[in-house]
């Protein structure tokens, strides 16, 4: 059925356009390259991202104490980052916390006091049990968009798409030098090979019930970024 349908749809489209399809790809018009964010220096991008992210109801804090002075952050977080993360989770009553392999690696040898960390795992039913019952999940954010206050995440090996979706609190570890300026910028950085990429612009929300804004309808009601 699908072959005949395909043929007919193409025949209809061809007839509508009054010409046979060409073998070469068309040239689309310019995408309006007006930049919404004209600066590119990291401290300003970080400031803008922080403002937008907080406006949306996101939370953010620095994993390192002396952040402004450093031109680029160290690749492996220090003890202080792990301590700061542990204290955030404890303050929020998170006892069981799922953690992605790469995030675990970023924390190095450090454990998080007072928190039980559970690695994302196979098989899938165990993974699902974990993600649907844990208090929070920690994943890496691959980047961020300053203009809109968005986190950029890609699916990948040892990662789970549901890790940043099912738990009520999502903690994203974000390296400051991965923040890009605006949507146009972020689109040019979309990986050509990733099976699923997603941008997260604040906590899940709905206003379907009588126009009243409520957070955490299906996705996390709280999203927190620890900057590295």
């Amino acid at each position: 059925m699908s072959d005949a349908s395909r043929r007919e749809i193409f025949a209809r489209v061809t007839q509508a356009l009054g010409r046979e399809p060409r073998p070469t790809a068309p040239a689309p018009p310019s995408a309006n390259s007006v930049r919404e964010v004209s600066f590119a220096n990291l401290p300003e991008l970080l400031d803008l991202f922080t403002v937008r992210w907080i406006e949306l109801g996101g939370e953010v804090w620095h994993g390192h104490p002396a952040h402004d002075a450093q031109p680029s952050p160290p690749p492996v977080p220090s003890n202080s980052a792990a301590t700061s993360l542990a204290s955030f989770l404890q303050q929020n009553g998170c006892r069981t916390v799922a953690i992605e392999t790469e995030a675990r690696a970023l924390l190095g040898e450090n454990t998080l006091a007072g928190v039980t960390l559970v690695d994302l795992c196979a098989p899938e039913h165990r993974l699902r049990d974990l993600l649907f019952s844990c208090d929070a999940a920690i994943t890496i954010a691959d980047g961020a968009i300053a203009e809109t206050g968005s986190l950029i995440m890609h699916s990948g090996a040892q990662r789970a798409r549901l890790a940043s979706l099912a738990p009520p609190l999502h903690v994203a570890l974000l390296r400051r030098d991965t923040i890009c300026a605006d949507v146009l910028d972020a689109l040019t950085r979309l990986s050509p090979a990733t099976s699923a990429a997603f941008w997260v612009t604040g906590p899940s929300k709905t206003a379907d019930i009588a126009g009243i804004l409520v957070r955490g309808i299906h996705g996390p009601g709280r999203v927190a970024v620890m900057l590295l």
């Binding site: 699908s2 349908s5 043929r7 919404e36 997260v200």
Partner: protein, 503 residues
Amino acid sequence: MRAKVDQYAEQMAETVQESVHSASALKVMQRIERLEGDLHDPEGARDAAAAIKQNVLDHLAEYLHIFEQRLIAAGARVHWARDAAEARQTVIDICKATGVRSIIKSKSMLSEEIELNQALEHAGYEVVETDLGEYIVQIDGDRPSHIVTPVIHKSKAEISRLFERMGLGPYTESAEELTMQARRHLREKFRAADCGITGVNFAVAESGRVVICTNEGNGRYTASAPPVHIALMGIEKLIPNDQSLAPFLKLLARSATGQRLTVYTQFIRAPRATGELDGPREMHVVIVDNGRSAILADPECHEVLRCIRCGACLNVCPVYRQTSGHGYFSVYGGPIGAVLSPLLEAGRRQPAPASCFAHPGTPSARPSTPVPDAPRGTPVPHPTDLIAPEFAELPKASSLCAACADVCPVRIPLPEMLLTLRARAVRHGFAKLSGAPDFRPFAAVATRPSAWRATVAATRLPGARIATKFPIASLRAWRRSRDLPPFPKTGFRQWWRKREKQK
């Protein structure tokens, strides 16, 4: 016989009308704030979006072909459906082949257009709408009243009573509590479903990505949690490449609700890759025509296919605000619906071109017969004359204020199309409404200066205004929802002569 939309508006509860009106007004304000306050060049973005969409339509065959190739190379399956029946059957076939029993759905106008849910339920599948508004519509057996906010017409109390009846939780006046009741209930569905069906906001040809923009998170669950993902899209959803998404992502959420971006923007290319811990094993994209190719052939109306379903035209339309989407008695309401509904319905009845049956080696090619569900004796319209009788009165549900054209992110000339469709309806003799008075008496007076002057003088007689209320039935009907301005004490010519004398 008065127009259905007028009849509907008349019987609408005032509270519903108020909430539709105020919610629309709020979104209009938010849109302006976000577009003008935020973007450096909102008009430029609209120009780019319009030009890109037009380019897509002008090269639709090429873009469809490229998109299909990319998807297949990435491991997704592509299916083609000529009409609603075929689209429904395709989805059912996929479910049968993969042993699916329970299905979750996220927002898809197309799935409503093809009446998918009923067909799936009839075939024995459990189908759960997971967008909160659509879920409420589903369990209440209702219909959505707005493209973006489906239950704008329901109160908290109504929703709570509904949830209580369905066993989601005790009665409560708290929107937060109600939302949590729905979250707890639907979470279990996300966890256990065998198949997820989503719509598609944009289909990027060059990169083979399906882009889905949502706020709640159910769209992500639907595309990622079950082992099978089915994405439904119309043929016109294509975008050339990743970068050309920029103006659309800038405009979509801002036009719809005043957000910069929806909370979740998904870019999906393929099913689960090796090493990934979750994600669907199978990804299916169903590409549906259902009348769109006929509209593509319509020289006066094909631009309507640029629509990105933002809902901005609904929010700003004075007629929509008085009636909500239900007043249009169609899947698509508001200004876009008034144009799309008559065109799509007529487009579905266009027979296939002879050329698609001339292919060698197609033993199953069927003879060119009219589409089965066209009523007997329905004339087959010429491509430049598409309009379905059932929806012919919708283009009249408009004051022609053109506010819709002002807000459309892809610059669809809706007012011109509304006029074009009205003319087609008249040519076919479809739209016979007594709501419009016979203008011939007016024409007779307006083309005779002495008669005109006499009529104008008559308006200054006592009782003139009252006289317009009784004598003529059609005038009475027309006046029921229109106020005449007060008749001035002096005529313009008198005033002018006086003024000239004073100089």
